[in-house]
Symmetry: C2
Subunit: 281 residues, 2 copies
Amino acid sequence: MTSQLLEINQQYCLIDCGEGTQYQLLNLKAKTAKIDYIFISHMHGDHIFGLPGLLSSMSLLGRTKELYLIAPAELRDVLIAINRTSQASYNFPINFIETQDAYATQVLENEYFSVTSVPLEHRVACCGFIFREKKKKNKLLAEKLPKGFPFELMKELKEGKNVDWEEKEYLVEDYTAEPTAPLSYAFCSDTAYSENILEHINGVDMLYHEATFVESDIERAVKTRHSTASQAATIASKANVKKLVIGHFSIRYKELNQLLEEAQSVFPETFLAIEGKIFTV
Amino acid sequence: MTSQLLEINQQYCLIDCGEGTQYQLLNLKAKTAKIDYIFISHMHGDHIFGLPGLLSSMSLLGRTKELYLIAPAELRDVLIAINRTSQASYNFPINFIETQDAYATQVLENEYFSVTSVPLEHRVACCGFIFREKKKKNKLLAEKLPKGFPFELMKELKEGKNVDWEEKEYLVEDYTAEPTAPLSYAFCSDTAYSENILEHINGVDMLYHEATFVESDIERAVKTRHSTASQAATIASKANVKKLVIGHFSIRYKELNQLLEEAQSVFPETFLAIEGKIFTV
């Protein structure tokens, strides 16, 4: 089952929602109430069967805050069919943003980050998602400021404005430091090997790319429109990403090291997406 | 979440299928391949959200054997919507038997047992299910038979026919014992207190009846069309059942003993339906 929880400056995005996601979030002590954005790559059950339950639970637990649901249009049909038959509805508004798989397009933008959907190549319409932090504000060097320095002026300094206080000028360059570079994360699953995504994911700090099979099972990968570990690593290498996380492994492999080693032989900075594991981009 | 696995003479019935049921079956080492009958009481998510995933997994794991799905007609709409959008289908036939909540009716009968659906009183159409074993064959007293006694004749004795072998007559009354009495199990959830079910469940060996609330929260029970522990026990008592299992407890109760004690004060032979617990009828 696929599901990832992505935190960007205390904004929480859930990416895909396989069955049992809500229980696993509970086990990992992640608060579902904090999730404001849910991204769904495609309509296969291992990516969506946890969503009806998660949405119901959010509603039962008292959510009233709007939720952004970025997903294939067909998902709406399924949710409507479920709610109609159970005579249920959610106690919070859903802002439904339809993805489409004809071309890459920005699907979300807020104060902290923007998200672009990118068509992948799978058996059904499927999109990857690229999350990009916006340029951050300067870091305030608070320890250099005198006691009692007004909070409002601190904000202005962070925003890059020189300020005057008690007959002294405080320059941005003296009292702030450059912010850390904005980070980027790309989620690409499920997909066959596709160089079409390279231009979109080029240089991202972290790429999650599915690696369902090992290279010796490439016929299965081609037939089912999935990738091998070696193909995932090739994409990572060609796209000049900084780190690669592979996942969505076929249950046929009891030993995941073969997938890791295969990918690392092409792209050394590869890691396995293991249940419950936390990565810092 | 509600789900129960009922075994009757190595026939496996799943009753309701909340999210995560397939994983819990896996944890409990119950083989989903052996399940030939799935009963769904009603369309609320805590009783059905595990079904799409279970059916997909059955198909992926190679099932070709027919599955009986005894459920509200609306469930078909949901499964069709899901399969259409995911462009998936099951590799096994589903024999869909629609329940209806206007009156009690037999929904299934096979060699070993029959099942009657009984209308319950909930916020949406909802049925309970009563499982009755058929009269079993006589028990063969094999130790009394001579060596080499033909297997075919053993079968006839079990079926209640006297047989001749090597110039001797073998009487049913000498070589078989009466079978154990056929057992019965009633599943009644979700439902408000309803004496309409009494005639149908009268005398069953085991009754599962929901007990969402304690009696002091009876207003909530009435409003949400659920039962209190005391009401479940009253039904058990009035229906002269042998044992009562209560479940479907509201998450508001951290301590389930209060529900058990409340029910036992009315009907002593009450037990709690706890995750993973196995009862013998």
